[in-house]
């Protein structure tokens, strides 16, 4: 296996293995090629491996392609037919037997093939005339860096979002502004996930924006968006799906950070390495829950220990890539990414960042000491006793790792480059590094952080955080683009890049590149604070447009990439439930702390405990994603189980009763219906709606029946 790797990794390794008489042998091999081997390859192999198809990613059209091998690794080792996989396959010693679906080649032909490989497998010309070898995806070129997302931010001169949108609007103009009451409802649901109070229109809109951005409900609403991206849950997944009872501190960290308008670069740094920045700061420690939120098996057999560890590190790296950089780095685990310039070597260089990083529970004591959690159990309640300390799950180094039922240790001291992602095929040890395409220049020392004397940490995660936030030389420009795009996405329903987790070549291209770079620049110039960006967006004409149908614009710009109209969208699962609770008058506004899985809970939905095997059914029905990998955008489905929840669940019925009780203060039927419309839809009922309501109530239906209807209406769950 060692030899295979040397061949794959670099030409220089090849040179080292050349036999002394290689020149003579290559000459002989060329004759073999011309006389017989070329026609054998053309006749039996080329169709599937370079001609009509490239099966198993193996192409033998040119010698360079042949030597690169395919998804099963190296196929041919020059001068060593015995060590060449291709020979085992054609000799039918290994599966899949080759040529596929045809009889075995005659022994004489096989012998010639072997002799040719033993003579270095030379080509006199490509098997398809004029064909050039494929570009090696393991090498990052200047051309790769030209992809827009990898470029430095463009300096865009503009005064406003509106100016930049209108510049690209192909002659269209903004839709007229929506009515004030519509905007107020839109604003409340957008920023807080709750419907507005009846008297909310009294304030001017910009002042209302400031007020809602300053409200604690803002963090509760927007933290949920980030938790999707962070595949956040509070259990291990897999076999037993054990609870992680101290994981919720991460969720609280996100809420607090957004409410305090923590600079986004710091938000990122702390999630990757909070413990290496401020080892005694509980918030910095809690932030590392980001790395630890993924699944992990609770039962690991001896021969799975190592693979499981690589899976766990992959989860940290892949989530970091998706969430922070909008890149699918995980693809490069088994092979160089075919679309984006992410070679496998870059993947393992980045992966080694997490070599010694694991989940751990720590106790933060009142006197500020942080120690590994020492578990003493309350024998009666079978729960851990924590005295005078806050117990927290972090994902870091230097404390006692959480250990599952395993036949091995929690981590390995070294991370290796793996061929095809297999722990059975180790190459050299990986040393820390970053994506070449986002490093200008490739100068690791620029970012390297060495922990102080006596630290139990490797410093690698803080080193990563330096690179990822470095706007001029590292990934910082992309980092900024990805987050401003997420903000835009949650204000408009669609991002400027419609695939928020994929800024690479397989994503959907940015519809407004100048605007994206302008916003990213504003973010960085403003000290990475998010609230000013929210303000820019919410005070724009673009965001305040009416959502009324405009058939001409729909025809001209069906995907609304020009943003010359506002498209209504359905609320997410949590906002629907929270809104129902809010209008029922039963919402418990308590912030933070451990969650529950009781559907009757009256707290906001973000405080549900998220156990992977027991997700909250009423949220899943409304498209809560499974927290397994980073999710950039939720689908919006319309299915019958959603209707059943609103029609029949005890919660929906009980909230309808709550709303009905609130209405009693409003006097007669007309007064009650009017108040109900104000609470639910932030408007007065039309005459027809009033009549329909009065007739319904007279027909023998209860006020709760009526309220349940209102909570189920399209208007209640859509933002206009």
């Amino acid at each position: 296996m060692r030899i295979l790797f040397q061949l794959l990794v670099a030409g220089s390794a090849l040179a080292a293995n050349l036999p002394s008489d290689h020149a003579k042998r290559m000459e002989r091999g060329l004759r073999l090629f011309d006389d017989e081997v070329a026609s054998t390859l053309k006749q039996h192999c080329l169709k599937c491996h370079g001609g009509e198809k490239v099966k198993s990613d193996f192409d033998l059209t040119t010698r360079e392609d042949l030597l690169r091998g395919g998804s099963h690794g190296a196929a041919v080792v020059p001068f060593d037919s015995k060590g060449s996989l291709i020979m085992a396959l054609v000799r039918h010693e290994k599966e899949s037997n080759m040529p596929d679906g045809s009889p075995k080649l005659p022994e004489a032909v096989i012998a010639k093939l072997a002799a040719w490989i033993d003579d270095g497998a030379p080509y006199s010309s490509p098997l398809i005339a004029g064909k050039k070898p494929k570009k090696d995806p393991g090498v990052v070129t200047e051309e790769d860096r030209q992809w827009w997302a990898f470029q430095p931010l463009k300096k865009v001169q503009a005064k406003s979002i509106d100016e930049l949108l209108l510049k690209n609007a192909k002659g269209m103009t903004f839709a007229p502004p929506a009515e004030k009451s519509v905007l107020v409802r839109r604003l409340y649901l957008d920023l807080t996930g709750l419907p507005p109070p009846v008297d909310a229109d009294a304030m001017e809109l910009p002042a209302l924006v400031d007020r809602l951005l300053a409200s604690p409900q803002h963090g509760e609403r927007w933290a949920r968006h980030w938790l999707d991206v962070a595949r956040y849950a509070e259990s291990t997944g897999f076999e037993q799906d054990y609870d992680r009872p101290f994981a919720f501190h991460y969720r609280d960290f996100v809420i607090r950070a957004l409410n305090e308008d923590m600079p986004y670069d710091q938000f990122v740094k702390w999630q990757l390495a909070g413990d290496e920045y401020e080892p005694k700061n509980p918030q910095a420690l809690a932030a590392t829950g980001f790395l630890g939120a993924g699944v992990f098996p609770s039962q690991i057999t001896a021969n799975e220990v190592e693979r499981t560890r690589y899976d766990a590190m992959d989860d940290m790296l892949s989530t970091t890539g998706n969430a922070m950089l909008g890149l699918t780095i995980g693809c490069a685990r088994c092979h160089d990414n075919k679309y984006d310039p992410i070679p496998t070597a870059d993947y393992y260089a980045m992966l080694s960042t997490f070599t010694t990083t694991t989940r751990m529970n720590v106790d933060i004591h009142r006197d500020g000491r942080v120690t590994s959690a020492v578990t003493t159990m309350d024998a009666k309640k079978n729960t851990p006793v924590v005295k005078d300390a806050t117990r927290m799950m972090i994902c870091a180094e230097g404390y006692d790792p959480i250990v599952m039922h395993t036949q091995g240790g929690p981590f390995f001291d070294k991370t290796f480059l793996l061929k095809r992602g297999s722990t059975d095929m180790k190459d050299r040890e990986a040393t820390q590094g970053f994506l070449q395409v986002l490093s200008r220049p490739q100068d690791f020392k620029r970012w390297q952080w060495r922990p102080p004397e006596g630290s139990k940490s490797s410093g690698r995660r803080r080193t990563l955080s330096h690179w990822i936030t470095d706007v001029d030389h590292g990934a910082g420009a992309l980092l900024a683009r990805v987050i401003v795009n997420r903000l835009w996405q949650h204000h408009f329903g669609t991002g400027l890049v419609p695939t928020p987790n994929d800024f690479g070549k397989t994503g959907t291209p940015c519809t407004q590149p100048e605007l994206l770079d302008w916003l990213a620049g504003r973010l960085i110039d403003g000290g990475w604070k998010l609230k000013p960006i929210h303000r820019l967006i919410l005070n724009s004409r673009a965001w305040q447009q009416s959502s009324a149908r405009d058939a001409a614009k729909e025809a001209a710009d069906p995907a609304n990439g020009l943003f010359m109209r506002f498209v209504p969208c359905r609320l997410e699962a949590e906002a629907i439930r929270d809104s129902m609770l809010a209008v029922s008058g039963r919402l418990d506004e308590t912030l933070f702390g451990p969650g529950t899985r009781d559907e009757n809970s009256r707290r906001r939905s973000i405080y549900f405990n998220i156990k992977r095997s027991q997700l909250i059914g009423s949220l899943v029905a409304f498209d809560l994603p499974e927290p397994l990998v980073s999710q950039g955008a939720r689908p919006t489905t319309t299915v019958a189980p959603q209707a059943l929840i609103l029609m029949n669940s005890p919660q929906a019925r009980s909230w309808a009763e709550g709303l009905a009780a609130r209405l009693q203060a409003a006097g007669d039927g007309q007064g009650q219906i009017t108040l109900a419309y104000q609470l639910c839809f932030h408007r007065n009922p039309s005459a027809a709606e009033l009549d329909a309501g009065l007739a319904f109530l007279k027909s023998g239906a209860s006020p709760a029946d009526y309220c349940q209807v209102l909570l189920s209406l399209n208007e209640f769950v859509y933002v206009n």
């Binding site: 099966k55 599966e95 997944g237 897999f238 799906d241 098996p297 039962q299 057999t301 001896a302 021969n303 799975e304 998706n322 699918t328 693809c331 679309y339 994929d502 070549k505 397989t506 009324a548 149908r549 729909e554 498209v567 209504p568 359905r570 992977r612 095997s613 997700l615 899943v620 498209d623 499974e626 397994l628 990998v629 689908p635 919006t636 489905t637 319309t638 299915v639 019958a640 189980p641 959603q642 209707a643 059943l644 929840i645 029609m647 029949n648 669940s649 019925r653 027809a688 329909a692 023998g700 239906a701 209860s702 709760a704 029946d705 349940q708 209807v709 189920s712 209406l713 399209n714 859509y718």
Partner: protein, 471 residues
């Protein structure tokens, strides 16, 4: 799989899904809706429905369907070169152990079957056996995920999700993908709902888990504080108010779909309980399955429910035989004799009845029945007072029946002691490609774009459809 004109969001907004891909077909032009019932890709079999009897825990091939006389001859000998890490308990490696069950031949095909399945074995000439299956993990949950989703890691879409994604549903009142788990409180398969999750496919394609006790589906009953009449009045008012607000909306089709979804939900309230009403089945059918037998009544009920679902257009049904692990499932680490006898007795008559019943109704030809678990078991003993067998990822047998498969056929072989698959080896991805083909789906074309790639059930290693299983 992507329609030319609709965005994903529109597409999803317009579909029913999950609950039977409740396709809202009346509102849709079939050509535009990839989740409405669809014609298969015409690649292999003719199964319209699939019932997977998932023998959870990993039944032993050498004690069930893979007859190995050589193993009896070498009983007690050491298996030379055996890697003790092959199974789960490296410290309990015993010698080769013959099957404690007798074997005899059945049917025209002369298929050797163990005495565990006297009734199911009567159908051997309709069953197609694959003896050369192998998988990549020796541990339950990774192997379960592998068998269900094609990946040992958590979070990928399962076979049932892919099939319903590919074919849509044919019932307008039932989920199109349902899962039944052990009703005797022995637990869910390891990894529980992740085994029937939709992964990165839209969540509408996840399996609907029918609760083993109480109402099988949540929120199907009108709340006590309402009456059906009052609920009807609610829906009428709702429709009226919703329709008034439709005019001029930029998302009229989404809103319309939502109006329709309430009507659908209303119909389901009566249709779904009807589908579960085993009590309506005539006495001779109940007897055939063994619904009222103590030893197999629970599994008989599930198999009979499966048949009723197939009749009503449900696409994919998975029934787990056994609960979580060890003695709760086919995971016979201890006492292979007692363990396998117990689970076979629970399922033999119901499974046999299911095949007979489907056949007599003319449904077998369009229904693929699969029997198999996540891996096999070792031919050596796991030492103990009552010896068992440890996990074996290297060889196991599954069988299929109906849906156009070749009856009485045996594909592939394990070695002479049943330790490793040696001839015509079939990987889990090959098996998945074959199951999809049985339903008329081409595994190379059944793709979904996620993280920038056209993802598929069968991965990137070019697996092959086992064409020999089709008649």
């Amino acid at each position: 799989m992507h329609p030319p004109t609709l965005s994903r969001r529109e597409m999803l907004a317009r579909t029913g899904g999950g609950f039977g891909m409740l396709a809202l077909a009346s509102m849709l032009e079939a050509a535009q809706n990839p989740f409405a019932p669809r014609a298969p890709m015409q690649v292999g079999g003719r199964a319209k429905s699939i019932i997977w009897i998932f023998t959870n825990g990993g039944p032993s091939q050498v004690d069930t369907w893979d007859y190995k006389p050589e193993l009896a001859r070498r009983d007690g000998q050491t298996l030379e070169g055996f890697d003790p890490k092959t199974g789960f308990f490296p410290g309990s490696v015993g010698g080769l152990m013959k099957s404690p069950f007798g074997f005899r031949q059945y049917g025209q095909s002369g298929t050797w079957c163990s005495d565990l399945f006297p009734k199911t074995s009567m159908h051997v000439d309709k069953m197609c056996f694959i003896h050369s299956c192998w998988t990549g993990s020796n541990n339950h949950s990774p192997a379960l995920f592998m068998m269900n989703t094609g990946a040992t890691r958590m979070g990928y879409p399962c076979v049932g999700s892919w099939v319903t994604y590919g074919l849509g549903g044919e019932s307008d009142s039932l989920p199109s993908f349902v899962v039944m788990s052990d009703p005797l409180n022995r637990g869910l398969p390891k990894g529980s709902a992740a085994n029937w999750g939709a992964g990165f496919l839209p969540s509408v394609f996840q399996g609907t888990w029918l609760k083993p006790s109480g109402a099988p589906i949540d929120n199907l009953a009108v709340p006590a504080s309402l009456t059906p009449q009052r609920q009807r009045a609610q829906l009428d008012l709702m429709a009226r108010l919703n329709r008034q607000a439709l005019a001029g909306s930029a998302v009229e089709s989404e809103l319309n779909a939502r109006i329709e979804s309430f009507e659908l939900a209303y119909r389901m309230q009566t249709a779904a309980p009807e589908a579960f009403a085993i009590k309506d089945e005539p006495e001779h059918i109940r007897k055939l399955y063994g619904v009222d037998e103590k030893h197999c009544g629970h599994f008989a009920t599930q198999c009979l429910t499966a048949r009723r679902m197939v009749e009503r257009g449900v696409r994919f049904i998975q029934i787990y035989s056994g609960g979580m692990e060890n003695q709760q499932s086919w995971d016979g680490h201890r006492d292979i004799l007692g363990n396998h006898s117990g689970f076979a007795a629970e399922s033999d008559q119901p499974v046999a009845a299911l095949i007979s019943d489907l056949e007599q109704r003319g449904l077998l030809d369009q229904t693929l029945v699969i029997w198999g678990g996540e891996f096999g078991r070792l031919p050596i003993a796991q030492k103990g007072a009552q010896p068992g067998r440890d996990h074996n990822p290297h060889a196991f047998t599954i069988w299929m029946c109906g849906g156009g498969v070749r009856g009485g056929h045996h594909h592939g072989e394990s070695d002479e002691i049943g330790f490793k698959a040696v001839l015509d080896r079939v990987s889990v991805h090959d098996l998945h490609a074959t199951i999809l083909a049985a339903a008329g789906l081409d595994h190379e074309r059944l793709t979904f774009k996620f993280q920038g790639l056209d993802q598929r059930l069968t991965g990137v290693e070019n697996p092959k459809v086992v064409k020999q299983v089709f008649a």
